[in-house]
């Protein structure tokens, strides 16, 4: 496959920089440049159409089909059911899938809120801490990135072990060594299981937020802070009125993608808590995967995925309205 990209497009060879015979050399050069650009984007576009655009359209259409164990053999020829999948999820009180769906929606909102909030907050705090001069700072900055490299599925097995109630290191530290808690909490079941997936996600996400903020902090002109300091502004005021406003575009970008990635989280709950993470930690993606590929309710899965995508489009619109000014400031 790689070879196809190395071959020069046939037109490129014959295209001259300055064709002299044409009456309007400029326009012709322009045309050859454009043609060249189209050749360059062709492979990427082909892949995006084949594996993103077409399947997404097909997935949207499948959400209007009755696709389950009995009709799966027909593949794309399964019978149409109109809006049944949607109305079943959203309005049919008798549908057993409905409560599971709303539970997962609620869990995903809670998970996304805490994961993104804590990741950005702590990432910014650590970035401020690392944006100082100290012996060994370069080493600290590099090592601080390590959690981000640990694959999510390893994060999940590692933290599952650490969360164990009786032999896990976390309860040992909290209960046996420091006596912060009197009783050993159960982390992997019930109410606490939400924290059992939020905290590792935050741990893995912090380094990414941190380098992003750190790069922003280092690009900031020093004179602003120095001038403010001369005028008598303390560190808190300087952060409030200089640093924070300048970081707003970075916060905006991270919020946008952070929310999308968190809402689509799959690996951590799936590996840590199993195919069914339970009513307290079942997220949208674990629910959709389970219902589609374990219970063969493909129609339900497609409809739930479509609703999730619509929710994300709404989020992007809300985000755009909220941060429009900051984005204009950057570009």
């Amino acid at each position: 496959m790689a070879q196809t990209t190395v071959q020069p497009p046939p037109e490129a060879g014959s295209a001259r920089v300055l064709p002299s015979r044409a009456g309007r050399p400029r326009r012709s050069a322009e045309r050859s440049r454009t043609r060249f650009a189209y050749w360059l984007i062709a492979p990427a576009v082909a892949f995006m159409v084949l594996i993103h655009l077409l399947p997404t359209t097909a997935g949207f259409l499948l959400s209007f089909k009755r696709l389950n164990t009995f009709t799966f053999a027909q593949l794309f020829d399964a019978p149409w059911t109109g809006l049944d999948n949607y109305s079943g999820i959203l309005f049919d009180e008798a549908n057993p899938l409905r409560s599971g769906f709303f539970g997962a929606v609620q869990n995903t909102v809670v998970y996304t809120f805490w994961t993104v909030g804590l990741t950005l907050g702590l990432g910014l705090a650590i970035a401020l801490l690392l944006n100082r001069e100290m012996r060994g700072m370069r080493l600290v900055r590099t090592l601080m990135l390590t959690p981000w490299i640990v694959p999510s599925f390893v994060v999940a097995v590692l933290w599952q072990f650490m969360w164990q109630s009786d032999v896990g290191i976390i309860n040992k530290v909290l209960v046996d060594y420091t006596h912060l808690l009197g009783e050993r909490p159960i982390w992997l079941l019930g109410e606490n299981s939400m924290w059992a997936i939020v905290i590792p996600s935050v741990w893995r996400g912090i380094p990414f937020a941190m380098i992003f903020f750190l790069a922003g902090l280092q690009a900031m002109p020093r004179e602003l802070h120095e001038a403010a300091a001369i005028d008598g502004a303390g560190p808190i005021k300087r952060f409030r009125y200089i640093t924070f406003p300048l970081l707003r575009p970075l916060i905006a970008i991270q919020l946008l993608f952070g929310v999308i990635y968190a809402a689509y989280q799959f690996a951590i709950p799936y590996i840590m808590l199993g195919t069914n993470p339970g009513p307290d930690a079942d997220l949208m993606m674990t629910l959709i995967y389970r219902q589609s590929f374990q219970n063969n309710l493909f129609g339900f899965g497609a409809a739930a995925s479509t609703l999730l995508m619509i929710a994300m489009f709404v989020w992007v619109l809300v985000w755009y309205r909220a941060f429009k000014r900051d984005l204009e400031a950057v570009t």
Binding site: M1, A2, A12, G13, R33, T34, L40, I41, P43, A44, V45, F47, M48, I51, H52, P55, T56, G59, L62, L129, R132, M134, M137, V140, T142, L143, M144, P147, I149, P151, S152, F153, V154, V157, L158, F161, V167, W203, P207, F208, I211, F212, G216, A219, L250, A263, A267, Y270, I271, M284, M285, I288, Y289, F298, A302, S305, T306, L308, V316, V330
Partner: protein
């Protein structure tokens, strides 16, 4: 005087935060060097490390196969994504053409689609191809490579576009005056100048492909399963062998860790491209 003490306190805090962030990784390595029995009872002895968990894990599951599959699929997919993205990224960085804005929006748009929505049709398409044509994509390396290439091309385009924008235009123009074709100038002049960017993009795509679980869980059965599936199967069959599981965790982190630290400087530049205007 007090400012100095505050600074010392912040230095100490910095090291403390670093220790906290690295503690889980330390725990992963330490646990992998114990035996399953020690982890089950909690009677760990950190001063007596042993590699038995690593050798036993290798016998428990066919880890070699998962590792090999991951290496093949992720390497080829990351290479293809980098190749396609460098072409498209160059087009976006240097040329004005109709549809350029559309392409940029489409690139972001792909990030908005939940995997589960296009996974279903891809899965059904692969099954259909298997049943009706000789094209084998379901549970094959090729199938996973195609999917991952498509997955990571969009983000890679943003990376490469940024790196190309940093290269002065004069270089190519000079080469073209000397008789190079447009494509020749791109291959001989621009690509070498963007080598750090190519490496960073490749590693970034590789890291993400290494981490992918949703698609490989649905699109493979036994031939093309990668490490995350190996780990899942391991939990399913030998949940009590915790030390072996931690050893598997260490082994599956090592390749990406090495790749990351070898290219860390360029990678960070690529990631933070959006943060600092350049």
């Amino acid at each position: 005087m007090s400012a100095r003490w505050i600074n010392r306190g912040l230095d100490a805090l910095t090291w403390l935060v670093l220790a906290l962030m690295l503690a889980p990784i330390f725990w992963l390595v330490v646990s992998a060097l114990q035996t399953d029995g020690q982890l089950a009872t909690g009677a760990m002895n950190l001063l007596d490390p042993t590699f038995t968990a690593f050798t036993r894990m290798w016998d428990s599951v066919d880890f070699e196969r998962y590792l090999l599959n991951s290496l093949i699929i992720c390497t080829v997919a990351a290479l293809c994504a980098t190749a396609f993205a460098s072409l498209a990224g160059y087009a976006l960085a240097r040329f004005k053409f109709r549809g350029a804005t559309g392409l940029s929006l489409g690139v972001i748009g792909t990030q908005l689609i939940p995997g589960s929505l296009f996974l279903l049709p891809v899965f059904m398409g692969f099954i259909w191809l298997k049943q009706n044509t000789p094209i084998a994509l379901f549970d094959t390396h090729l199938g996973m490579i195609l999917v991952y290439t498509a997955f990571f091309t969009p983000v890679a385009i943003y990376f490469m576009r940024y790196f190309f924008l940093a290269i002065p235009k004069d270089l190519e123009e000079a080469a073209m005056v000397d008789g190079c074709t447009r494509f020749g100038a791109f291959v001989k002049i621009v690509l070498p100048a963007a080598a750090p960017g190519l490496v960073a993009t490749f590693v970034y795509a590789f890291l993400f492909a290494w981490d992918e679980l949703l698609f490989v869980a649905a699109l493979t059965q036994e031939n093309a399963e990668t490490i995350p599936i190996g780990i899942r199967n391991f939990i399913g069959n030998y949940q009590e062998r915790t030390a072996q599981l931690m050893a598997a965790g260490v082994i599956s982190t090592l390749p990406v860790l090495i790749a990351f630290f070898a290219t860390q400087r360029w990678l960070v530049k690529g990631i933070t491209a959006g943060a600092v205007k350049g």
